[in-house]
Amino acid sequence: MNAATQSHAQPRPERDEAYNFAYLDEQTKRMIRRGLLKAVAIPGYQVPFGGREMPLPYGWGTGGMQLTAAILGAEDVLKVIDQGADDTTNAVSIRRFFARTAGVETTERTPEATIIQTRHRIPETPLHADQIMVYQVPIPDPLRFIEPSETETRTMHALNDYGVMHVKLYEDIATFGHIATAYAYPVTVNERYVMDPSPIPKFDNPKLDMSPALMLFAAGREKRLYAVPPFTRVTSLDFEDHPFEVQKWAHNCAICGSHDSFLDELILDDRGTQSFVCSDTDYCAQRVSQGRAEQ
């Protein structure tokens, strides 16, 4: 790593010796890695794992944290994002957690990170081959909304019985005139398994396709993990006459002027004045600092 990028990373913190490296015990980490090997071997297949209790509530990223703990090495640089931002409570505390228990370097810069744990977004900056994305997943099974039985959904996955996935999209079109599913938009991985890409906006779905980075997903409460290996085909489900489309905005980012990133709407006052800013705070800050701002 060169000196210019090094300067952005925070200095390597002191590891708290009271904890095992990255909090989890070695046996648990081995078990999770075994699960990961299987998940990578069968792209999109949900592998059960013995989820451990983590020192934060379910739904706050316990699955993602266990994966991060299992794959983290002393030389890794960790970035954590929540809703695209590096500075939200959840992102800050997970970053601090690993800084303290593993003593790893952390960063807010996407290109510097080797492991990026995320909730809701894939960074706008293109990923490269040395990076691993770790997604926090609430409900791993895309069939769950229509089929409550786990035995049944497993059989459906095994038999490639995915007709019901289109029932959901059909309902969207029948109700709203277009496919209104905006996040957790189901995808087919490697032309075989239908997968829930976690609650990322469908805007980010195309970034999964043929990505050079390894994508790992984990649900802590449901105790399932799955993966998309690098350079794997990921296609979003759609209809011939209602093809898959990503969100578009009529506005540019109010801070950096970007016209092709995912924007968050901010309400500025009681009269409903809106402003749109990049959801990816690092991407936005980099654009500003590189003087590419158009405003």
């Binding site: 019985d161 007709g163 289109h166 029932v167 059909y170 079109i173 029948a174 109700t175 209809f239």
Partner: protein, 275 residues
Amino acid sequence: MIAAQHLHEKLHQDVLADPVQPLLKVKGLSKLYGPEKGCQDVSFELYPGEVLGIVGESGSGKSTLLSLLSGRCLPDSGVIDYRTTQDHWLDLYSASEAERRTLLRTEWGFVEQNPRDGLRMAVSAGANIGERLMAQGVRNYQQLRAAGLDWLNQVEIDPARIDDLPRTFSGGMQQRLQIARNLVSGPRLVFMDEPTGGLDVSVQARLLDLMRGLVRELDLAVVIVTHDLAVARLLADRLMVMRRSRVVETGLTDQILDDPQHPYSQLLVSSVLQP
């Protein structure tokens, strides 16, 4: 309509190709949950376009037999051979689960007694009808929509209700919707478990009328379980009378209802109230 026409042509060819080949051959089928509980030693053949009624008292094994026939549960012993559209014989129980499932959602249909078991109550009528087509790989919304409207028409439901949830439908409408959902894939063989149970008499009559029309029009082979002899008389070509897990009498419907031979059949026929 397209599916129905397609089916029609297909069936027509089948019939022309070999008019005497049965569709389903059942040999020595048994599944017992206890002594005389379940069904045992059932053998018959079903021909294309034929309606077979299974009648008998509660607990006589009718529904067990239907689950066995449709491959939903496995028998203690016995064999079922089904002649597929490709005209080869498929041994139902040695086929893989994937093959059985594919059959159940393409060439076969299953109409449940309670429409709530056979429908997806959380999605609209149109989605219910379209599901089988989507499972078969139809990825064109307009086509699915057209099939939905067409089938609502065929089962006498106002097509304007295509986007309504099944729970806003009356019991009779739900049952008709379930029939539409099964027939949309153009099946050759439909299993029905007391399709008119739980409906009031006038709705029953209308449903039966509709079903009779569809069965004749689409040349469906049907296995229908009922305890209502009027339903059997109206729909079935042939009857099997079951009692205590065994088939006690089989024959043409009129023959059995007008001249029952077995004491139990006689009892069953004579027990019908004459208004």
